[in-house]
Amino acid sequence: MTTTTPAAKAAAATGDFFDTRIGAAKLVKEFARKVFPDHWSFMLGEIALYSFIVLLLSGTFLTMFFVPSMTEVHYPVDALPTTMRGVEMSEAFASTLHMSFHVRGGLLMRQIHHWAALLFMAAIVTHMMRVFFTGAFRKPRELNWFVGFTLLILGLAAGFTGYSLPDDVLSGNGLRIADGVAKSIPILGSYVSFALFGGEFPGHVIIPRLFTAHILLVPALILSLVAVHLILVVVHKHTQYPGPGRTNSNVVGYPLFPVYMAKAGGFFFVVFGVLAIMGATLSINNVWNYGPFDPSPVSAGAQPDWYMLFLEGALRLMPGQTEFVVAGYTVPLNILVPGVVVPGILFTLLGAYPIIEAYASGDKREHHLLDRPRNVPTRTGVGVAVLTAFIILAAAGSNDLIATHFKLSINSITWVFRVLFLVGPFIAFIITKRMCLALQRRDRDLVLHGYETGRVVRFASGEYIEVHQPLTPQERWVLVDYDPHKPLPAPSETNARGVARPDYKKLRRQSRLSHFFFADRVDPVTPAELEAAHAHHASAHGSDHELEHETATAGELESTSV
């Protein structure tokens, strides 16, 4: 490196400064040209990360003006908005109004912050789905899946505590519902309610406590887990899709400096820009329309933010007759089931999935090549089924809006969703799995017989055939590069010497689960099968087989001998 120009001299001096103090040369050597594979679906996690940064920045702005206090004040009689003049409200609500109408850019920052929160959760869910459907949670990345799952839960907590801070009627009724769910807990319920609110609802401390959770406890946990999440990606290196030149032992892509810094750094600015434009042009959470919290009013269309809709829908769908009393003690299953049991099952399934699938496959190898979802039909089916359950619950949570917009009876909608919730995920699983298997068969056909070119050739013998163009080795590779997972064989009850195996039941359970996952499958085409297909073509069409290949192959294809 020349050191003659001033810029080069400055760069050399800086480099030396850091190298002699923290060994920077080693870091730069390790990381500067680190390779990252390039695919748009790998950027979904980045959307979440960047919207979190936007949340931190806009949130800091908000904390300069928000007063987390429930002390009652009267809004000034000459201040905007006109509908709040002279009204009694908490300081939290008053400071939110002041920030929106009397701080330049205050309303903008509130709206950016709320849109960023909604986007954060949407990006986490989309990213999680990508990781799930491509199998990126397999060994060695199970730990990162658990970290990410925890981040999902923390995101829910951050959102709930955040939108409750302005102390308005909508979020206040949400807190009241949360209080009702807390009270339903057997034995401890009333005490949990008192612990949350410092006494009877609504009390005077919930807003300051939510504030502490929202700006200190939850962000600290999120930041530390995000750091762990990213460190694990560096340690494991990023996964990549199968393709020509890509193996389980390499990473093919572009270096961090400069390409990824430019693309990922640029994407940060894109996310920030989109959020700022949304915050400037789309209204969100206009709390002055709901008014300061009072336990008496409630608005039609009382829903929480979208990521909590699954809980809201579950609460709406559960029939009430399930609450019962035993020995004078009340067990409200109509709240415990939708509030605790159903989300518990869905989230546990989601969180523990890597363990379940590893148990079913018995696979202990490291996996760095992603799966195409069609090649793992049962996993894809399970994922779609769980998604269907969540979407049905979210739609059930919006049932009154569906009723007004489509002019339907809300009671009928509720009944339809009750049935759909029980039946829909199973139907979705079956349909998805069958679609995956069908797509796999189509891929096999493509490999064995090539593309249909639409050209029809008539032979002297009078036979018509459609000319098929065989795949190039690159095209074929993507379609054949996957593991033909075989189910674990059913164990024998006794070992070779006729002694009963003590682990028979365990192995049988594992084998049964394995069959559920892998019994229905389509194996990738082997070279022998391709050879047989070519031979079939040759024998069926004789010497004209050559004509077929010569007219069909075009461009820079190599010989198709395998």
Binding site: G265, A280, P295, G320
Partner: protein, 349 residues
């Protein structure tokens, strides 16, 4: 040079063994040059585009800062709108411009030749693992913990319970007075008059016409210490039905007055205000989860996730002709709790 290469090493440590069952990896496809690689004008054009986009970003940022100064906040609601829009679009387009310019630069001008890096198994090699195990064993032996179960037990016990002296004060203070029985009573007493919500006007029975609904609070609500906590339990709905439509439950003959009935407004599901009154069906609908209660039949549940009927407030007319409560509710209002039906020690409920 690090272990990067632009040539494929087809077999690495983490790949499966070669097999006749599997095709061979055909290797990286040939690199396709971009316009900016092959033509200097293409490259110049891309550079111009990037510069223009950066330029738009700069202009937008300036506009955003101008917006801050141009729209003061004490000049009407229109200024709030313009301020939000100008600062927001300035910020947004400013940021978006940098992003688009940087990405276009990367895609069009930076090298797009794919680079290959090698992975190594996460698992340490056997020698390292053996050394690690040896280190741990040596450390454990030095600590002596294996041979001293008393120390081990004492350490675990001390560490396990030490957080208690932090957690007990922390959790213990969270619940205030912890007087959960307070939830079982409201401020309604014999003779407490009914008043309109929120302005507190007293109500005479002749004011309550058939088909009307009145949102009611106890008279004197605004003089108590904790207004919202009392209001959260005491809100009531007052409705008048034609006497022939109203079914009086046994034991509640004097709880209503000439077809006027009062029910708690706090939903017995999870506590939202049950405020929608459908005049023609005399049903009360809760907007949160659609629990529906029939006012003509003791406010029992006819649809939805609630189980219990709304508690009824017994009412009478006092000697000055105003509607007043005869007594507090005979049960706790709002959502179910574990102990809601158990008698409170010291009270004959």
């Amino acid at each position: 040079m690090s272990n990067h290469s632009t040539e494929l090493e087809t077999r690495g440590e983490l790949d499966p063994a070669p097999s006749p069952e599997r095709f061979e990896n055909p290797g990286l496809p040939p690199h396709r040059p971009r316009l900016s690689d092959t033509s200097p004008e293409g490259s110049k054009r891309a550079e111009r585009q990037v510069a223009i986009i950066f330029g738009i970003s700069i202009l937008a940022t300036i506009a955003g800062v101008w917006g801050y100064f141009a729209f003061p906040m004490d000049a009407g609601v229109g200024n709030v709108r313009y301020s939000t829009l100008s600062i927001g679009l300035g910020l947004g387009i400013g940021m978006l411009g940098i992003g688009i310019a940087a990405v276009h630069w990367a895609k069009a001008l930076m090298s797009d030749v794919e680079v290959v890096d090698q992975r190594h198994p996460q698992r340490g090699d056997d020698a390292t693992r053996a050394a690690a195990v040896a280190d741990l064993q040596a450390g454990a032996k030095d600590s002596g913990i294996a041979r001293r179960p008393l120390l081990k037990g004492a350490l675990i016990t001390a560490v396990a319970i030490a957080p208690l002296s932090f957690l007990v004060p922390f959790v213990g203070n969270l619940g205030g007075s912890w007087n959960v029985n307070a939830m079982r009573h409201t401020m309604w007493r014999k003779g407490t008059r009914l008043a309109t919500d929120p302005d507190g006007r007293l109500i005479r029975p002749e004011m309550v016409t058939i088909g009307s609904v009145w949102h009611v609070i106890p008279d004197g609500l605004h003089e108590v210490d904790d207004v919202l906590a009392e209001k959260a339990k005491a809100i009531v709905l007052l409705v008048r039905l034609a006497p022939e439509d109203l079914k009086i439950l046994p034991g509640r003959e004097d709880w209503s007055y000439d077809g006027i009935v009062a029910y708690s407004k706090v939903c017995t599901h999870v506590g939202c205000p049950v405020a929608l009154y459908e005049q023609q069906t005399h049903h009360l609908l809760c907007p949160c989860h659609q629990s529906t209660f029939d006012v003509a039949d003791g406010a029992k549940v006819v649809f939805g996730p609630a189980k219990r009927a709304l508690p009824q407030l017994p009412i009478m007319v006092d000697d000055e002709g105003y509607l007043a409560a005869r007594d507090d509710f005979d049960e706790a209002v709002g959502p179910s709790t574990w102990e809601r039906q158990r008698p409170i020690r010291g009270e004959d409920y």
